[in-house]
């Protein structure tokens, strides 16, 4: 059975749990697959390590956590160091190129672009960096269609911020494709 494992990792406050939720929602509600999202975090609201894990499958999902990661997003150097070791051979690692400068080596594909800066400068609001990252992960993993992922994004954000998030998502999607080409 196809079991695909994603991990969104970084620091508390970066919106990674939300990004994971939207990815899983896209798969389970809009794509017609099954998905489980789980997380671990410290007692702090901001700072500290944060990770959100998503398992996507065509059939029922038993163990809800990552066993061997297919795709990893690392938004801090600490996260990249800590989690890149259980990336599958042939898996994909997405990093923010400004924050992760010591790039982990391994039998996986690394895609890098300045995620937070894209949100800040190209989209105009740093707060949507997680949606830029999500757009990139959707492009790199191919587990859900661009349309379904966008639907999940739009159904998860306040109405006033729909355009902002739409732009962030597209920007992440395009930049990841360009960076991985």
């Amino acid at each position: 059975m196809s079991r695909y494992e994603l991990r969104f990792s970084g620091a508390g406050g970066q919106g990674l749990i939300t990004a994971g939720i939207i990815m899983a929602k896209a798969a389970s509600i809009y794509e017609g697959k099954q998905a489980v999202q789980s997380q671990s975090y410290g007692p702090e609201a901001r700072g500290g390590a944060s990770k959100s894990e998503v398992i996507i499958s065509d059939g029922p999902i038993d163990y809800p956590k990552v066993t061997q990661c297919d795709a990893l997003l690392a938004m801090t150097q600490e996260a990249a160091n800590k989690y890149s070791h259980d990336l599958k051979e042939g898996g994909v690692l997405l990093i923010d190129s400004d924050l992760v400068t010591n790039i982990p080596a391994g039998n996986f594909k690394t895609v890098a672009f300045p995620i937070i800066n894209t949100a800040k400068n190209d989209v105009g609001r740093e707060i949507v960096a997680n949606i830029v990252a999500l757009g990139a992960m959707v492009a790199l993993t191919g587990q859900v269609s661009r349309e379904n992922a966008e639907k999940a994004v739009l159904s998860s954000v306040p109405e006033a911020f729909i355009e902002l998030n739409k732009t962030a998502f597209s920007m992440g999607f395009e930049k990841a494709l360009a960076a991985s080409a």
């Binding site: 389970s28 489980v36 789980s38 007692p43 999902i61 038993d62 163990y63 809800p64």
Partner: protein, 377 residues
Amino acid sequence: MAKKVAFMQGNEAAAHGALYAGCNFFGGYPITPSTEVSEVLSIELPKVGGKFIQMEDEIGAMAACLGASLTGAKALTSTSGPGLSLKQELIGYGCIAEIPCVVFNVMRGGPSTGMPTGPSQSDVMCAKWGTHGDHATIALMPASVQECYDMVAEAFSLAEKYRMPVHVLPDEIIAHMRERIEFREPGEIEITPRKAPTVPPEQYKPYDTSFGDVPPLANFGSGYRYHVTGLNKMQDGFPTTKAEIVQAEEERQVRKVDACIDDIVTFEEYMLDDAEVVVVAYGSTSRSARYAVNAAREQGINAGMFRIKTFWPFPDKQIKALAAKVKGFIIPEMNLGMCSIELERCAQGKIPVLGIFRVDGEPINPEQIVEKIKEVK
């Protein structure tokens, strides 16, 4: 019409399961990792004419639930370990005064404040023996977000049917993870109403056993007046120390559940037909176990899983039957061997019971279980 679906957390699903069952009262005190239950109900209960009260602490929250239930409300509280410890005095009161309500307790590390954001399964004994004295306990163990919804709904029925507090015990993983769920249609899960008195107020006794081991319960405010106490009581609700009455009443309050154990106990059997090694698991750990059983089967080992859905009353009959035919039990749990004690008791030394016990806040991974299965083989 297509069913309403949503992608949500176990805690959120539990709140919706409660609403499905007709829950119209929540008395609580927020605590990680159960707070989302109160968050949802604080928004949803007022919409259906229900009451949401955040009390001064967990003891008050439990007391509020008992009081609300006596007026006919379907009452829920949610909490986690430290809160469960505080609620015990009033849970005992609910047991002896026979007041239906549901306690949704999300298990985190302990004792005391422990590890608030980490998963655990270490409240299973606290749910049973946390309050002093002999009493029946019903505790359900959801292993998915859908089961959080379903089991909370079922817990309300069990609470009314047996006139007692009923526990639902997810671990933090189940409570916080998100999955797609289906909202149940009316009638899909049986909702048992409270057994109302058939006699006029002047003839009513709150513990009248001529109506069976679970006497009808009159709602305060409906014209029926009676006495409620934490003391051992007579059929009319007033205290007594008469030996024969106390003995009979205590026995009845345990018997009312024990005699119906086959109606209450639920479980799932996975690949047990030809299993030689059986992983007994509950909650999120059963998901690791299912993965492990599949992995072991791929390696040619006849493994299976018995998933405990009703932890209390414990499925003695099923476990004993398995112990008579398989080579060994594996029990993975996020505590230092609480269910293991029950398995040892049922296995009576006939087969080995091998535990995998983790209390470090990390889930038990399937690999650990596969390795342990091989030890039996």
